[in-house]
C-alpha cells in the first residue's frame, strides 16, 4: 500500500516537532523531581518499605527535603563511604538516622562512588537487555502485527495464569493493567499485590512474577513473549527503572498522557518523561505512546490530526531522550464512530497515513473502545474490521479489540475469542497489503492528505504558542491543563548548580548516538 504524500509537508512537520520539543527538554534538563531522585535510589539498589509501609526510596527523598534541588546521589553515596550499601543507609534513615550533606572534602569520593554505583546499575540493565536478545534469538520473534492483549483481573496471580493462557492461545505481548488511579500515588507499591480495580499495581515484584510466568511458557509456544506495563503517572522514571531490571519489553510511556488524562502537573510530567525515557531507551524497551486516548475524549472524525501532530512531538521527545525509532511505538486508534458513513475508509486512510509517516516506528494500533456498546456481537464485528485494517496497512503492534470492551475487564474467554479472530484475519488478509493500493485522488487518499495538512497546521500553532501554552489551551484531547495545576507540582525543583545525578552524567552524552541506532 502506498500513498501520495507531500514530502515537503512531512519534512516541515519533523522540523516543527523538534522546535516544539527543544524548550520542553531545556525545562526538563533544568529541573529534577522526587520521582527522579527516588529512581536514583532504586537504581542504587534501594528497595523495600519501612514499618509504616513507606517505600525506602520515598523515605530517602523525604529526608532530602529542600535539598531535593541538589539531588539524592551525593548524600547517599557519601553515607556509603563507611562501606555500607545504599540499602543499609536507607534502612538506617528509616530508623531515624539523618541523611547528612557530605562535607566538601568527601565530595570527590562520593562522586566516584556514585559513578560506580551508576555503572553497576547500567551494567545490570544492559545484561537484561542482552538476555532479551538472546531469548529472541532462541525462540524467535512473531510476525507482525504482534498480538497484544491485556490482563486486568486485579490479582497478580490470576493475571499470571491468564497471561500464560493468553500466550498459549496466541498472544505475542501481554500487558498487565494497573489498578485504577495508581498513576495518582506518588510512590511505587512494594511486593506482590492481589487487589486493585480494573487491574492491580505496577510493582517490581509483580513484574517479576508475570515475567517468570511468560518465560515459563516460551519453550512451549516457541516464540519470545513480550511483557508490558505502564511507566506512567507520578512515578514514570521509577517504574521504568523497575521494568529495566525485570526485563519488561514495552512500557506505556507518553510525554503527555499523565497531564491530559490523570491531571498530573505538566512541569512534573515533562521532567519525569525525559528521565523515564532515557531508562527505557537504555533498556531496549519499546515505548508505547498514548495518542489513542485523545479520541476517547475528542471525536475521532475531527481529532485525527491531533493524534498525528502528537505522534510527531512524542517521537521528537523520545529521540532526544535516546530512544531509537525501532523502540518508539507511536500510538493511534480506530476510534471514529462506526455508524458514521465512510468510517472504515477514514480509519483505513489514517492508519495508512501514520504507517507511511513513521516507517521505522513499531506503530501501536488501538481498537475501537469509546463507540462500542454492550452489543457484544457488534463489538466482535468492529474488532474484525479493526484487525483487517491493522494487517492491510502493516501495523506493528495490534492491541486487540475485546467483544466485552463496554462491559467488563476481559474474561479469559473474551481474550481467547479476540486472539482467535486476530490470528484468522491476519492470516487470511495478509496478502491484501501488496494487493491493493489507493486510487490516486480517490476518497481515501484525499482524506489522508487532508488530515496530514491539518496536523501540520496544528504543529505550526503549537510551535508558535509553545507546548505549555498548547496544553493550557486544551489543544490535545479537548482537555485544558494549566501549567501550575494538577497533581505533583510540589515534587518539582529547579536544579541547584550543585545538582548531581550520576545516571544523567553517564547517559546524556550517549543519547544522540543511541537515538540514531
Amino acid at each position: 500500500m502506498k500513498l501520495e504524500l507531500d514530502s515537503g509537508l512531512v519534512a516541515e512537520a519533523h522540523g516543527l516537532a523538534d522546535e516544539i520539543a527543544a524548550p520542553v527538554l531545556d525545562f526538563a534538563r533544568a529541573h529534577t523531581t522526587v520521582a527522579i531522585e527516588r529512581t536514583v535510589a532504586r537504581l542504587f539498589g534501594v528497595d523495600g518499605v519501612d514499618d509504616l509501609g513507606v517505600p525506602l526510596p520515598n523515605v530517602l527523598v523525604d529526608a532530602l527535603g529542600p535539598r531535593l534541588c541538589r539531588g539524592l546521589a551525593m548524600p547517599l553515596a557519601a553515607a556509603c563511604a563507611d562501606g555500607r550499601t545504599p540499602q543499609q543507609v536507607a534502612e538506617a534513615v528509616a530508623a531515624g538516622a539523618p541523611l547528612a550533606d557530605p562535607p566538601d572534602e568527601a565530595l570527590p569520593d562520593a562522586r566516584r562512588l556514585a559513578a560506580r554505583l551508576a555503572e553497576n546499575a547500567d551494567a545490570a540493565i544492559l545484561a537484561c537487555r542482552a538476555e532479551r536478545s538472546r531469548l529472541i534469538e532462541q525462540y524467535g520473534d512473531p510476525s507482525t502485527p504482534w498480538i497484544y492483549v491485556i490482563v486486568a483481573t486485579g490479582n497478580i496471580r490470576e493475571d499470571a495464569r491468564q497471561a500464560q493462557a493468553a500466550a498459549r492461545a496466541g498472544a505475542d505481548v501481554v500487558a498487565v493493567i494497573r489498578s485504577t488511579a495508581q498513576s495518582l500515588i506518588d510512590y511505587v507499591p512494594y511486593g506482590e499485590t492481589t487487589e486493585g480495580f480494573g487491574g492491580t499495581y505496577a510493582t517490581q515484584a509483580n513484574f517479576r512474577r508475570v515475567r517468570a510466568a511468560l518465560d515459563e511458557v516460551m519453550p512451549e509456544v516457541g516464540r519470545y513473549l513480550r511483557l508490558t506495563n505502564y511507566a506512567s503517572g507520578l512515578c514514570m522514571p521509577e517504574i521504568a527503572a523497575c521494568g529495566a531490571m525485570e526485563r519488561l519489553d514495552m512500557m506505556l510511556n507518553d510525554s503527555m498522557y499523565g497531564i491530559l488524562f490523570r491531571d498530573i502537573n505538566p512541569q512534573r510530567t515533562f521532567c519525569d518523561q525525559y528521565v523515564s525515557r532515557m531508562i527505557n531507551g537504555r533498556a531496549g524497551i519499546i515505548i508505547n505512546t498514548g495518542e489513542d486516548n485523545y479520541l476517547t475524549t475528542a471525536p475521532g472524525h475531527e481529532a485525527g490530526h491531533t493524534v498525528i501532530a502528537s505522534n510527531f512531538i512524542n517521537r521528537a521527545l523520545a529521540l532526544a531522550a535516546g530512544i531509537p525509532e525501532p523502540q518508539i511505538g507511536l500510538g493511534h486508534a480506530f476510534e471514529i464512530d462506526p455508524d458514521r458513513p465512510g468510517q472504515l475508509m477514514e480509519e483505513w486512510a489514517i492508519a495508512l497515513l501514520i504507517r507511511e509517516l513513521f516507517p521505522r516506528c513499531p506503530l501501536k494500533y488501538m481498537p475501537p473502545t469509546k463507540h462500542v456498546t454492550g452489543d457484544i456481537f457488534r463489538t466482535q464485528s468492529l474488532g474484525t474490521l479493526f484487525n483487517l485494517v491493522g494487517v492491510a496497512t502493516g501495523q506493528h503492534i495490534q492491541l486487540l479489540s475485546i467483544l466485552t470492551e463496554a462491559v467488563h475487564t476481559p474474561f479469559m474467554s473474551d481474550r481467547m475469542l479476540a486472539i482467535q479472530d486476530a490470528r484468522r484475519v491476519f492470516e487470511a488478509a495478509r496478502p491484501l497489503r501488496e494487493s491493493l493500493q489507493a486510487v490516486p485522488g480517490g476518497p481515501l487518499e484525499q482524506r489522508a492528505q487532508l488530515v496530514l495538512r491539518e496536523a501540520v497546521e496544528l504543529l505550526r500553532q503549537v510551535a508558535e504558542a509553545g507546548m505549555f501554552e498548547a496544553v493550557e489551551r486544551g489543544w490535545f484531547a479537548d482537555t485544558p491543563r494549566p501549567r501550575d495545576g494538577g497533581r505533583g507540582l510540589e515534587g518539582v525543583a529547579e536544579r541547584d548548580p550543585a545538582y548531581m545525578n550520576p545516571f544523567l552524567e553517564l547517559w546524556e552524552p550517549t543519547l544522540a548516538e543511541a537515538a540514531s541506532a
Binding site: A169, T180, A181, D263, G374
Partner: protein, 250 residues
C-alpha cells in the same frame, strides 16, 4: 397476565443462547459436562454447539437451550427514570416559572473513577448526541468537578454552592467498587444530615434506576442517557418538592 418466554423462531419456544467457560479440560467428557451444567442450572433440551479449549484446563462453550420458565410482565413495576419529554426551552421555562431562580447542579466522577466522558456528556456545553448539556441551560447553574473527586470534597462543594442536585458518575464497576463508592457518598450525606437537602442522582453505563434507588439515590441513569431527559426529571422533581415544602409551611 401469563408468563412470556424467550422467542427464538416460534412463539413459546423459549430459546436462549449462552456462552461460558468451565475450569475443566476439553476432553471426551467435555460435552456432557457442559450439558449437565446447563441441566443443573435448570435449562431444558440444552445443546452444546461449540466447544473450544480456552487453556489447558479451561473449556469454552457456546450453547442453546430452552428456558425453564419465563416472566410475567405484570410483575414488573420498577422502570427506568420516567420524565416528561420536555424541550430545552420548556425545561428553562418550567424552572423560571415554578422556581423563579436557577437550579444549581453539581457533578463529579467520584473517588477512584477517572471516567469523565459520561458526566461531561450530561453537563458540558457540548452535550450528547446533539442534545445540549446542562451548562447550556440559562436556568441551570451547572458545576462539573471532573474526575476522581473524593466524596468529602463533593459534599463540601455542594454545601458551599447551595446545590439543588448532586450528580455522580460511576463507570468502573469491577468488584462492585461503584456500589461501595456510591454508598460512601450516601452515608456521608446522612451522617451530616444533608441527605434530604439534595436531589441525589447517579449514572453510568452499568447503572439502572432500580439499582440507584436500592443504594439510596433518588434516580439512576443508564447508558445512552440524554441531558434533556436528566434535566427534565430534575426540574420536575425539584418543583414538586419545593411546592410540597411550601404547602407544608403555609
Amino acid at each position: 397476565m401469563p408468563e412470556i418466554v424467550p422467542y427464538g423462531d416460534t412463539l413459546g419456544d423459549g430459546m436462549v443462547q449462552l456462552s461460558f467457560t468451565l475450569p475443566a479440560p476439553a476432553d471426551a467428557r467435555a460435552r456432557e459436562l457442559g450439558l449437565q451444567f446447563l441441566r443443573n442450572t435448570g435449562f431444558l433440551e440444552p445443546q452444546i454447539v461449540h466447544i473450544g479449549a480456552a487453556d489447558r484446563d479451561m473449556t469454552f462453550y457456546v450453547a442453546y437451550a430452552r428456558a425453564p420458565r419465563g416472566v410475567d410482565p405484570a410483575e414488573i413495576t420498577a422502570s427506568e427514570v420516567e420524565a416528561p419529554e420536555l424541550s430545552f426551552s420548556q425545561i428553562n421555562a418550567l424552572i423560571e416559572r415554578e422556581l423563579g431562580r436557577r437550579m444549581v447542579v453539581i457533578g463529579a466522577a467520584i473517588e477512584s473513577d477517572a471516567h469523565t466522558v459520561g458526566i461531561d456528556a450530561i453537563m458540558n456545553m457540548k452535550g450528547f448526541a446533539g442534545d445540549y448539556g446542562l451548562e447550556r441551560y440559562p436556568w441551570i447553574e451547572a458545576v462539573n468537578l471532573g474526575a476522581q473527586v473524593p466524596c468529602e470534597r463533593l459534599v463540601r462543594e455542594a454545601q458551599e454552592r447551595r446545590a439543588d442536585a448532586i450528580l455522580v458518575s460511576q463507570v468502573v464497576t469491577q468488584k462492585q467498587v461503584h456500589a461501595r463508592q456510591l454508598t460512601k457518598l450516601v452515608d456521608l450525606l446522612e451522617a451530616e444530615q444533608l441527605r434530604d437537602r439534595y436531589l441525589l442522582v447517579c449514572g453510568g453505563p452499568r447503572l439502572s434506576n432500580t439499582f440507584a434507588k436500592e443504594l439510596g439515590y433518588d434516580a439512576g441513569f443508564g447508558p445512552g442517557s440524554r441531558p434533556s431527559h436528566v434535566a427534565a426529571w430534575m426540574a420536575r422533581e425539584l418543583v414538586a418538592r419545593t411546592t410540597a415544602a411550601r404547602q407544608g409551611d403555609g
